[in-house]
Amino acid sequence: MNFPFDSDFILKKKKSLRKKLLSSSKEFFEKRIAVLGGSTTSEIVSILELFLLNHGIRPVFYESEYNRYWQDAMFENQELATFKPDIIFVHTSSRNIINWPSQQNSDDEVERMLEAQFDHFVSLWTNLKETYQCPIIQNNFERPNYRLLGNRDISDLRGKSNYVSRLNQKIYGFARNHGDFYIHDIDYLSAVYGLDKWHSSFYWYMYKYALNVNAIPEFAFNLANIIKAILGKNKKAFVLDLDNTLWGGVVGDDGVENLEIGPEMPMGQAYAEFQEYIKFHKDMGIILTICSKNDEQNALAGLQHPNSLLNPEDFTVIKANWNNKDENIYAIAEELNIGTDSLVFVDDNPAEREIVSVRMPSVATPDIGRIEEYISVLDHSGYFENVSLSAEDRKRSELYRQDVSRKQEQRCFGNYEEYLYSLSMQGSIEDFKPINMQRIVQLTNKSNQFNLTTKRYTESEMQQVATNPAYIRLCGQLRDKFGDNGIVSVVLGRIQEYALHIELWLMSCRVLKRDMELAMLDRLAEEAQAVGLDRLIGYYFPTAKNGMVRDFYRQLGFECINEDDSHNTIWSLNISNYVKKNKVIHLEMLT
C-alpha cells in the first residue's frame, strides 16, 4: 500500500485487502469523512478506505448522491448534520464547470463568467465552513480533455485550458488566505498519470466517473496523504544510509577521495542532486539522521567530502557503527523522543530494508530503486505532505492522544538467527579456480575494512600461491533470496609444521553479520585437519581502516599469543576438537 504500489492488484483485490488491513494489529482511530461528489465516487471511497486504514485511520463515510455536491452543501441537510463530518472532501472536476467561454464572448464577458464560476465555489466552501466547521479538501481542476484552439488554447482567454488555469489560480488564492482549506492537486495527478489516459471517456459515459477508474488508486493514495497529514500522521524524520545511498561507493573500502559525489561524473551528479533534495527537507523542519554500517570516522570523513552538500552538522543523530540497523533505528527514535512510526528509512540495500520492515513494521522502508529513481520514489510517497500551521497545531493534540496507547513494536523474528534463516542463504566455499582469479585478486586488493592483514597481491603472485601445495586456499561465494552476492570472502593459509598460518582473511562488507565468516572458519578447520594440522594461527595487522576486525579472532575463540608495540597481534586456535559454528548458511557440496 506504499508507493510504488500495484494499482491493478489493489483494484482487483480490494475486498480481501480490506479484510487483511482490518485484522492487522494496527490501532485505528475513527474519522468521519463526507465525500461530496460532482461525479461517481463509490470506487474512490472504497479505495480511499484502504489507504487510510494503512495509515491507521478508520474512516466512516458520508457520500452525496450522484452529482449532488452543490445541493448537499448549500441547503439544509439533516443527514450530513447528524453525520458530523471531521473532514469534507469536495470531489469536483472540469466536468462540473458549467459556463465555458465561447469564441463569441468578449474579454469582459469571459472575466465575468470566471468570477461567477469561482463565486459558485466560494459560496459552497463558506457555507460548509460555517455549518460544519471542519477542514475542507477541494480538488483543483484538471486540464480539459481536448484543446479546441490547439496550442493557443492555453493562452487565449476563450480557451478552455486558459480558463481552467485561471480558475485554479483563484482557488489557490483562496487556499492561501483561508485556514483548514486544502487543495487536492488533480491537475498534477492527471499530468503524472497521462492526461489522455486519465480522461478515458469510457468511464465517464458508462459510469459517470470523472477519471479513468484505473487511476483511482493513484488518486486515493494522494488524497489519503493529505488526510493523514491533516490528522497528524506525517513522518518526521529521515534515517539515511551512507554508502551507495548518499554517495556512490563504499567510503571504508574505496576511500573518501574515490566516492562518487559532485559535478564531474553522471553518477556523482545524481547523488549530489539527491543530497540536495534531502537537504531541502531540513528547511521544511524534517529531522535528518544517519544509520550506516561504517566506522564513525569514515562516515564523518565521507560527509566532509568537499562535494558533499550534506555535512555532519545537518544531522541530528549519526549512528555509524556495526550494530544491526534495527537496533540503531530504535536508538535514534529514542534519542529524538519520537515514535518509530515517524521514521522513513532510506537504504539502497534490499536486505537491510527487509530486516527493518519485518522487525519494525511501523518504520517506512520504501524501495527506492536505483539512484536515478530515489527522488521520484520519495517525492511520490508523500511522507511529509505539507499542511498549514493551524493543522500542525491540531496534529499535536491528536498525537498526544495516540502516544498514550502506542503499542510496543511487534517483532516478527524472535531473534537474529531466525532472520538469517529467513534469508535462505546458500554458500559455496572452494579452492581458487582459474575463472575466479580475477575477482579474487580484485577483492583482495580492494578490501580495507574486513581485512585482517591487508596483504596485497599482484595477479601473478596470486597465481603462484594458487599452485603452491604449501597453501590452503578458500574462495567463498554467497547467495540469498535477494540475489547472488558473488565471491565475497578470501582466506589463505600457509602450512608450516603442524599449524596453518592465516596470511590473508578478508570479506566484503556487503555480507557482514551473515555468519559467512563462520562458514569460512568451518571449512578452513576441516581442510587443515585433513592434512594433519592441529592448530590455526591468525594475524591481525591494524591499519586506519580495519578497526572493525580488531577482535575478530577473539570472537571466533582464538587465544591471543603475542602483541607487539604496534599492536600487531597473533592468535592461536586448537582445532583437534573443532566443532562447526555455521548454522544458517547452507553449503553446496564440494565438487
Partner: protein, 79 residues
C-alpha cells in the same frame, strides 16, 4: 483458448473480485445470482477481465451483457 478454459479463468476472476471462493459461474449466471454484484463491482469486474485477457470491451458490449455466457462470447470473439 477453449470455452471451458475461458470459464475457468472467469471463475478465478469472480472469486478474486468478490473475495468468495465458493463462487462458480455458469453460462446463465447473472448479477442476481451473486450477492455482492452491483454496478460498482461490475466496473471492477470488467476492468479485471479486460486486463486478464488483454482485451477491451466497447461501451455497447458492456451495457448489453445479459449473463456470464454473453461475456464469454465477447471474450471469445476478441482473443
Amino acid at each position: 483458448m477453449t470455452r471451458q478454459e475461458i470459464f475457468k479463468n472467469l471463475n478465478l476472476i469472480f472469486q478474486d473480485v468478490f473475495d468468495d471462493e465458493t463462487i462458480h459461474v455458469k453460462e446463465s449466471t447473472t448479477a442476481a445470482d451473486i450477492e455482492d454484484w452491483d454496478s460498482l463491482t461490475y466496473v471492477t469486474l470488467i476492468i479485471t477481465i479486460e486486463k486478464h485477457f488483454h482485451i477491451k470491451f466497447d461501451m455497447k458490449e458492456v451495457s448489453g451483457f445479459a449473463n456470464v455466457g454473453e461475456m464469454a462470447d465477447a471474450i471469445e470473439r476478441k482473443i
